[in-house]
């Protein structure tokens, strides 16, 4: 069902864990759906210099989270916002149709994390 790339990221996820003092946090999904994705970002000079994820979910959800952190690390906020769920799925070599909603969660969580950061910056001013 899953590509080797998906399984790689699932067995050995990148950048998982809780971030102390994140600059932005985005969380999507809910436990009754079986998927919860939380992304933490650290931003400096408009670039995402660190990103971590925590996920409750299936192999696709975990792999998508892990891949997303790889794709986002070091990008500017604008570049990060351009990343779409199809891009994440493509980087993983594709996802089964029924699992595409997992990549949607990652795109959403990233957007929310960046929005959260931007809101915090605005509030400080």
């Amino acid at each position: 069902m899953y590509t080797n790339k998906v399984l790689e990221h699932f067995y050995d996820p990148h950048n998982y864990g809780r971030m102390k003092n994140p600059d932005g946090v985005g969380e999507v999904g809910n436990p009754s759906c079986g998927d919860v994705l939380r992304l933490y970002i650290k931003v400096k000079n408009d670039k995402i210099i660190d990103i971590k994820f925590e996920t409750l979910g299936c192999a696709a959800a975990i792999a998508v989270s892990s891949m997303t952190t790889d794709m986002v690390m070091g990008k500017t906020l604008n570049e990060a916002l351009k990343i779409k769920k199809k891009d994440i799925a493509d980087e993983l070599g594709g996802l089964p149709e029924i699992k595409m909603h997992c990549s949607n969660l990652a795109e959403e969580a990233l957007k929310l994390a960046i929005e959260d950061y931007q809101k915090k910056v605005k509030d400080k001013k």
Binding site: L7, F10, Y11, P13, Y16, G17, E27, N30, P31, S32, C33, G34, D35, V36, L37, R38, F53, E54, T55, L56, G57, C58, A59, A60, A61, I62, I98, K99, H101
Partner: protein, 387 residues
Amino acid sequence: MKVYFDNAATTKVDSRVFEAMKPYFSDIYGNASSLHGFGLSAKQALEEAREVIARKINARHNEIIFTSGATEADNLAIRGVAYKNNHLGNHIITTKIEHPAVLESCRFLETQGFKITYLSVDREGFVNLEELKRSLGEKTILVSIIFANNEIGIIQPIKEIGKIIKNWNEKHNSKIIFHSDAVQAFTKIDINVNDLNLDLLSISSHKIYGPKGIGALYVKEGTKIEKIAHGGHHEYNLRPGTENVTSAVGFAKALELFNPKNYEAVKSLRAYLIKEVLKNIPDSYLNGPLAENVLPNIANFIFKGAEGEAIMLLLDKEGIAVSTGSACASHSLEPSYVLLALGVPKEEAHGSIRVSLGLENKKEEVDYTVKVFKKVIKRLRDINPLR
């Protein structure tokens, strides 16, 4: 270590079953309906197999219909009764925890004008007998209740249900038919169709160390059902198609080999597995009954804070095969409807794993699996944002 803990999904063919089947591929290969010698010797083997199966459940020879499996047997039972008896009524009673072969057959009949009552179950999984009694009516033609559930192993009070239906029939001079899908129960518990007042019973070969692709429907003499496939007049004109003699022989051999006594050791191993899992992994619990009224080999666990498909794949990586009731692993986005019917909260249902032991499993395999469970669950919980 490779550990196969998914015996409720399927079992391997026992080597003695395989040996018994061999002659019927290329030595005795005639069409059992042919009237020459080649056919007659195949026919003899078929009828011997039929006799063995009949005796196992205390049925008559001519009450056993071979099918391609229990799914077909369930379809034949439910749609067969519906089409033949719709002049008597259009109401069918079943439960919320049936196998999809029963549920989907019922759902299909709903589109054809039949009314279906899906009985609730309690927190352990027992069918609500009061609801059954209340549901029986003058338009009821069939009651279908799964003998032992494939996900949680619970064994229903089939004898009591048989009595309820018999009493109703006697009181109202009606002929409500009683069917049970006994796929998981067969050979693990003794089934005597007369004692239980059953009219129809579905059984399968590949859950009991026989080959895939064959099952049977017990049809009590006098029970009228419509055939659902058309063609030749095989199987007492109820199920057309050249008989699968090879598999019928295998099926009969398998059920000759195993009976409840063989499962005593499995029962102890299951108890040990449950004890060790619940002891070693916090925030976990068993679905269904612990020891009574439950199959000797099925244990369905909930692990809070970890998702079922992820657990299953991480176990698979360590060589262990189990199954999950998580939505992510199904083809819909809903978790197991059986667990939901029990009242398991949705978020917990996603963290379900079914372990189904087989006759060859050993204590070392359970010990290894518990160790892996512990490691895997902790790992998944550590990356859960809601921990």
